[in-house]
């Protein structure tokens, strides 16, 4: 019976869109793999030494974000990055890699220090999203993210951002504004989690794989969109299979970029970074906006409205009439 079922499954004609969906979904699962190397593991393989710094000087220390100094091929750098746990216990301590505002404020503190010390910054991004709880809102998660983005856009020191796993929306971008953005092959980057997107646009989280495909969240797609500049291939089944090899492939690319950016004068660097983000986004400019006169509604229209039962309230909102008290479309972050 089981064999028959499995056999039937195997015989099922491979559906092309389904395949693409499965492929993308596999990538998402790889990016979320529990054994995937995080900031400290990757740095542990790559760096000659690491000094971690703690605390945001205002509230506390957030274990979901690590920051500090390291030496990479003789280059002194400052690093920031999200840190998920490898097991349940560590995950609870590190809040599943979901930072609170103080985490981002710690990162900002270290990055600001790096600028003053003339150290380049390497950031490692792997986050499902910033922590969405009441305490996070109370302490200003939106404020921390916006200020971190703003800070990174103007720091007069080279910044290399590496998307190593999940690039989850604003919580990722907060430490991912860089002169160059590198992504590991199986990393994903999206404006909202695929589950969140599916539950809003498809009204069910079961369509997460479809949403993941539609959002084109894989590293290669992001490269094509210009959001990511370099994609680094992972060994074997993925980074979790061989963290040391992953770090060995990543290191020369980070170091190469640091050396290249180190030769660029600070003014040019900041201007180029501004331009890099300034041009992202697809729009056209219609030279002459069509201006149709506002249709004035006469008595006939109003009578027709009265006779048209679909215009009476009580049912679904009628498209075209702008009722402004419908529930807000919410974005999950």
């Amino acid at each position: 019976m089981v064999d028959r079922l499995l056999g039937r499954n195997r015989e099922a004609p491979p559906d092309a869109p389904l395949d693409a969906r499965t492929a993308v979904w596999n990538r998402v699962q790889l990016a979320r793999n529990l054994r995937r190397p995080r900031t400290l593991e990757l740095l542990g393989e790559m760096a000659d030494e690491i000094v971690e710094l703690h605390g945001d000087r205002g509230f506390g220390d957030d274990a979901a974000i690590v920051a500090g100094f390291a030496r990479l091929d003789g280059h002194r750098i400052a690093f920031v990055g999200q840190q998920k746990g490898a097991d349940t216990e560590e995950n609870i301590r590190r809040n599943f890699g979901m930072p609170h505002p103080e985490g981002y404020r710690k990162a900002m503190r270290v990055m600001d220090l790096a600028e003053r010390l003339g150290l380049p910054i390497v950031s490692f991004v792997d986050v499902p999203g910033a922590h969405p709880g009441p305490e996070s809102e109370e302490r200003g998660i939106a404020d921390a993210i916006a200020r971190s983005i703003g800070l990174m856009s103007r720091l007069r020191t080279p910044i290399v951002a590496v998307i190593t796993g999940e690039g989850g929306s604003g919580g990722a971008l907060a430490i991912a504004v860089g002169d160059v953005v590198i992504a590991l092959e199986n990393a994903v980057y999206s404006v909202i989690s695929p589950e969140g997107c599916a539950s809003i646009l498809w009204r069910t989280a079961d369509e997460a794989a479809t949403a993941a495909l539609a959002m084109r969240m894989t590293a290669d797609d992001q490269l094509a969109l210009g959001v990511v500049d370099i994609v680094v291939p992972e060994p074997g089944e993925g980074a979790h299979a061989d963290p040391a090899e992953t770090a060995r492939r990543l290191r020369p690319i980070i170091v190469g970029e640091l050396e290249r950016l180190g030769r660029v004068p600070a003014d040019e660097l900041v201007e180029a970074r501004y331009r890099r983000y300034r041009v992202l986004g697809a729009y056209t400019e219609v030279a002459a906006p069509a201006v149709a006169p506002t249709p004035t509604r006469g008595l006939g229209d109003r009578l027709r409205d009265l006779l048209d039962p679909t215009r009476w309230s009580g049912g679904n909102p009628i498209p075209g009439t702008s009722r402004r008290d419908e529930p807000p479309a919410r974005e999950e972050v």
Partner: protein, 369 residues
């Protein structure tokens, strides 16, 4: 015994929606015309209804002072995004329903005689979601404020970043925050007004970064959606969570202002939020006299001599055609020469509107009474 037949007549409380609106707060039935007259604030309980971008501009700015810029910006579909229906169809439907090209209008206007660069969002257009066009308009508003040293005002009403544009929508956070950092470095002030709702990526970028943050009473303002929050933490959310007053209590909003008072408060703040003089760097901004003869003269000159403004060597500014502003049907009190437009070398394809009839600013509740 009489047989009770199901009634096909509308129930007593079913009103034609374009005549009456039920206040979600006090359940009072409100006559739309009266509601509009009261700036869409419930006269009974003070509930603030959402305001369209045009109505917001009308309520904030001096009469006929607004000159729209970049009206022709329109989103593309970079991902080829299809959910229940394709993204271009959703865009077209939203354009037809609202008469806007995207969820924001930007331009320059005056508030009690003070020129400001202003960008206003419209929740009616796809939930006010921020895609490339909204990000671009906010950024251009900031860049113009920087070039002309005008105070910047952004009125937010948005559910967050536009999912249909994927990470490119997310990158608008970086684009806008970077522009605001430059504004800050140049000591040009920025006033952020948050209306219901201001959430997600919009809140976590330009909305929260105001030098002064104002919010309308009871406006929903927050980072993560309430459903996400509740789902993630499995605990009861405190009452008034993510409302304007909650933000005020926690120190992220300077003032919660009733819509009736908003224009007055903004005008009051603008007396202090004037860009610091470039030459006299040491002078604190608020020491400036309320009457600024030089600024007055130059703004007068701009009105009288349209080409003066455009002759100013704004860095790498390219001239836009004066005819490119037909969306501003106001009488020509302001200059028509659109020299104020800040040039960008962003990727844009100048496409002539192929005659598709996107209607202009509608007066949405035109059918009232």
């Amino acid at each position: 015994m009489p047989i009770k037949l199901p009634s096909f007549r509308p129930r007593k409380d079913a009103y034609p929606p374009d005549l009456w609106t039920k206040c979600p707060s006090c359940s009072e039935m409100l006559f739309n015309k009266q509601l509009d007259k009261a700036d869409r604030v419930c006269p009974n309980c003070g509930h603030h209804f959402r305001l369209s971008a045009q109505a917001r501009l009308d309520s904030l700015l001096d009469r006929d002072s607004f000159r729209e810029l970049d009206a022709g910006l329109q989103s593309l579909d970079p991902l080829g995004f299809v959910d229940q229906k394709p993204y271009p169809d959703r865009l077209a439907a939203a354009q037809l329903a609202t008469g806007l090209r995207d969820a924001a209008i930007r331009g320059v206007g005056t508030i009690e005689g003070r020129r400001v660069s202003i960008c206003v969002m419209d929740f009616g257009f796809m939930g006010g979601s921020m895609g490339a066009v909204v990000g671009e308009k906010v950024t251009r508003a900031a860049e113009q404020a920087l070039a002309e040293r005008l105070p910047l005002i952004v009125v937010s009403a948005s559910g967050g970043a536009r999912m249909q544009e994927g990470t490119l929508a997310l990158m608008q956070l970086a684009k806008t925050c970077a522009a605001l950092e430059r504004l800050k470095a140049a000591r040009v002030p920025y006033l952020s007004i948050m209306s219901d709702p201001t959430t997600g990526g919009v809140f976590a970028s330009y909305a929260v970064l105001g030098d002064v943050n104002l919010a309308e009473p009871n406006a929903l303002i927050g980072f993560a959606g309430a459903r996400v929050t509740a789902g993630t933490i499995a605990q009861e959310l405190p009452a008034g969570f993510q409302r304007a007053e909650f933000l005020y209590d926690h120190g992220f909003v300077d003032r919660v202002v009733h819509r009736r008072e908003l224009r007055h408060e903004v005008a009051l703040l603008l007396r202090y939020l004037a860009p610091a003089e470039v030459a006299a760097d040491a002078a604190p901004a608020d020491a400036r006299p309320a009457f600024d003869p030089l600024g007055f003269l130059s703004s007068l000159a701009e009105r009288v001599v349209p080409d003066l403004a455009s002759a100013e060597p704004a860095a790498s500014a390219e001239r836009a055609e004066p005819a490119a502003e037909p969306a501003a049907p106001e009488p020509d009190r302001e200059t028509t020469g659109d020299g104020a437009r800040v040039a960008t070398d962003s990727v844009k394809a100048d496409v002539d509107g192929p005659g598709e009839p996107v209607p202009a600013r509608p007066s949405r509740e035109a059918s009232d009474g």
